[in-house]
């Protein structure tokens, strides 16, 4: 049921057109941060208003929407954004990555390989990768314009000097098509390789900072590193305790107050799909029994 007090997907058509123009510009110049006039949304900034506005501008009535937070469909943030679009756009929703035409995400890229026609929308808190060392916006804009990216490596240098290795584990900076340096939002660096050469359109929305940027399908994306400290997309050295996956990003879950813990896929849909297909980890239960 669409809430009649609002336009389709909440935003008025003029605003959506403005956001679509920013998205198209972002797709035309991969990795470049396009300013846009962010609107007030009926939720706090920390809830991904940038992503919500990008999703609103992309949604059509025929779309099927999936919303994840840290890989999970059932967290408060994901549930409320999904409900928001059910209410304001009346679109179909799903938890199955393969069935979704638009996926809004916070802090993860789904494990399942995305396909042509899918759109992945990232919620971005801080779009500027250079801000850590150069707070002046006029200067960072100039640095992007002139491709002055030495500072990004100073950040990685500092990491190695302090920790012996590149300790940056989230929001690990990348270079897009050999041109713009981009913050991939706080996804774990484990997900960085999935940014590159993806069949899906990847859109990044920062609400408070009023920036949109994009990776069109099959864009070459490289994680920055040093010759003698190459980029490593590391993960916990375990298999999923539920589905036995050895190649998925894991969350550590405390199971009791005696220090018991288990490692499970952060991508809940991926984990369930594997268990439905009969893959079982040491703590996994066949799917039929849990339903």
């Amino acid at each position: 049921m669409t809430d009649q007090a609002y336009n389709f997907a909440y935003l008025d058509e003029q605003t959506k057109r403005m956001i679509r123009r920013a998205i198209l510009k972002g797709i035309a110049v991969p990795g470049y941060q396009v300013p846009f006039a962010s609107r007030e949304m009926p939720m706090p900034y920390g809830w991904g208003t940038g992503g919500v506005q990008v999703t609103a501008a992309c949604l059509t009535p025929e779309d099927t929407l999936k919303v994840i937070d840290q890989g999970a469909d059932d967290t408060t943030n994901a549930v409320s954004i999904r409900k928001f679009f059910q209410r304001t756009a009346g679109v179909a929703v799903t938890e199955a990555t393969a069935e979704a035409s638009i996926i809004q995400t916070r802090h993860r890229i789904p494990e399942a390989t995305l396909t042509e026609g899918q759109i992945l929308v990232y919620q971005v808190p801080i779009p500027e990768p250079l801000r850590f060392l150069e707070p002046r916006e006029t200067e960072t804009r100039k640095m992007h314009e002139l491709e002055e990216y030495g500072l990004m490596h100073v950040k990685l240098y500092e990491d190695i000097a302090r920790h012996g290795t590149i300790a940056t584990a989230y929001a690990y900076p990348v270079k897009v098509e050999g041109r713009y340096v981009m913050d991939p939002s706080p996804i774990p660096k484990f997900d960085n390789p999935k940014l590159s050469n993806s069949a899906a359109i990847q859109l990044f929305g920062a609400g408070r900072e009023q920036r949109i940027y994009a990776l069109p399908p099959y864009t070459h994306v490289v994680s920055l590193d040093f010759d003698d400290h190459p980029f490593v997309p590391s993960k916990a050295p375990h298999d999923c305790d539920l589905c036995a996956a050895s190649d998925s990003y894991l969350d550590e879950v405390i199971t009791d107050d005696q220090g018991g813990r288990m490692f499970v896929c952060s991508d809940t849909d991926f984990c369930r799909t594997r268990r439905e297909a009969g893959h079982l980890g040491p703590l996994g239960v066949p799917m039929q029994e849990t339903v």
């Binding site: 002139l146 002055e148 030495g150 500072l151 490596h153 240098y157 000097a161 302090r162 040093f226 003698d228």
Partner: protein, 267 residues
């Protein structure tokens, strides 16, 4: 034979920097006016003058930090002479982090205070494409040594350094890429006298060993005596006298320079 000699002489006689009619106004006020000079490779030029005489304005225009209203600044690039006033900003900024260096009076303006000493020295290397951590670190250690900072301070932030150390770190950070021209605005200003002397000594050694070309702005005639081959005296934005340092200081022609040298004027 004779022809060849002539050609060689012509090559080496090219100025590194050739400044013509450089003028900068702040509204109706004159910053600097109609400044012209040539700087030859390996030369150190001192600029002296009272407060407000236009020294920093001139230096900023020369280093491309500020666009002048008139005049040209021709720099001898690897591709031949180029006017840095009219060149594309991207090229000018690239030159500023390779061929040029700028040492600020206040080390805080020239250092990244949140970055370790090693990161500060390594930044210019990384800016021009260095991608081997071990090499960058070795170079940083080498340069910290050259400015008399112990290698074990490499991971400390500049905040933990004394004023003199900060200034030496700023110098290392600027010289690590082997610039051909160094701009310095009061490099020894704001330091204790004993610290100043040590820094001057260090600067003199570096200038001599690296054969640096430099333009040094200072209030301090002792600094120019020690470092500058040639001297330019400024007053109210104009150059009133220039020549070899010893000549200008020992036999000043302009009345203002005479006052300056006789220390009647407190510059």
């Amino acid at each position: 034979m004779g022809m060849l000699n002539l050609n060689l002489t012509a090559e080496t006689d090219q100025p590194l920097l050739s400044v013509q009619g450089l003028t900068k106004r702040y509204g109706a006020r004159i910053g600097c006016a109609d400044v012209s000079f040539d700087l030859f490779p390996g030369e150190v030029l001192g600029i002296v003058g009272e407060s407000g005489s236009g020294k920093s304005t001139l230096l900023s225009c020369l280093a491309g930090h500020m666009p002048p209203d008139q005049g040209s600044v021709i720099f001898q690039t690897a591709q031949g002479p180029r006017d840095t006033v009219t060149m594309a900003e991207a090229d000018r900024r690239r030159m500023a982090r390779t061929d040029w260096a700028f040492v600020h009076q206040n080390p805080r303006d020239g250092l990244r205070m949140g970055v370790s000493a090693g990161g500060n020295v390594g930044e210019r290397l990384m800016a021009i494409g260095a991608r081997h951590y071990g090499d960058i670190r070795d170079k940083a250690i080498d340069w910290l040594g050259r400015v008399e900072i112990a290698a074990d301070r490499i991971d400390d932030r500049p905040r933990a350094f004394s004023g003199g150390m900060q200034q030496r770190l700023q110098i290392a950070r600027n010289l690590v890429t082997g610039p051909r021209l160094v701009f310095m605005d009061e490099p020894t200003g704001g330091l204790d006298v004993s610290v100043q002397a040590r820094l001057l000594d260090l600067l003199r050694g570096l200038v001599r060993d690296m054969g640096l070309s430099a333009i040094i702005v200072t209030h301090d005639l002792a600094v120019v005596r020690l470092l500058a081959d040639r001297l330019m005296v400024m007053k109210s934005g104009h150059v009133v006298e220039q020549g070899l340092t010893d000549q200008v200081l020992d036999d000043p022609q302009h009345a203002y320079t005479q006052l300056l040298v006789s220390s009647v004027l407190q510059v």
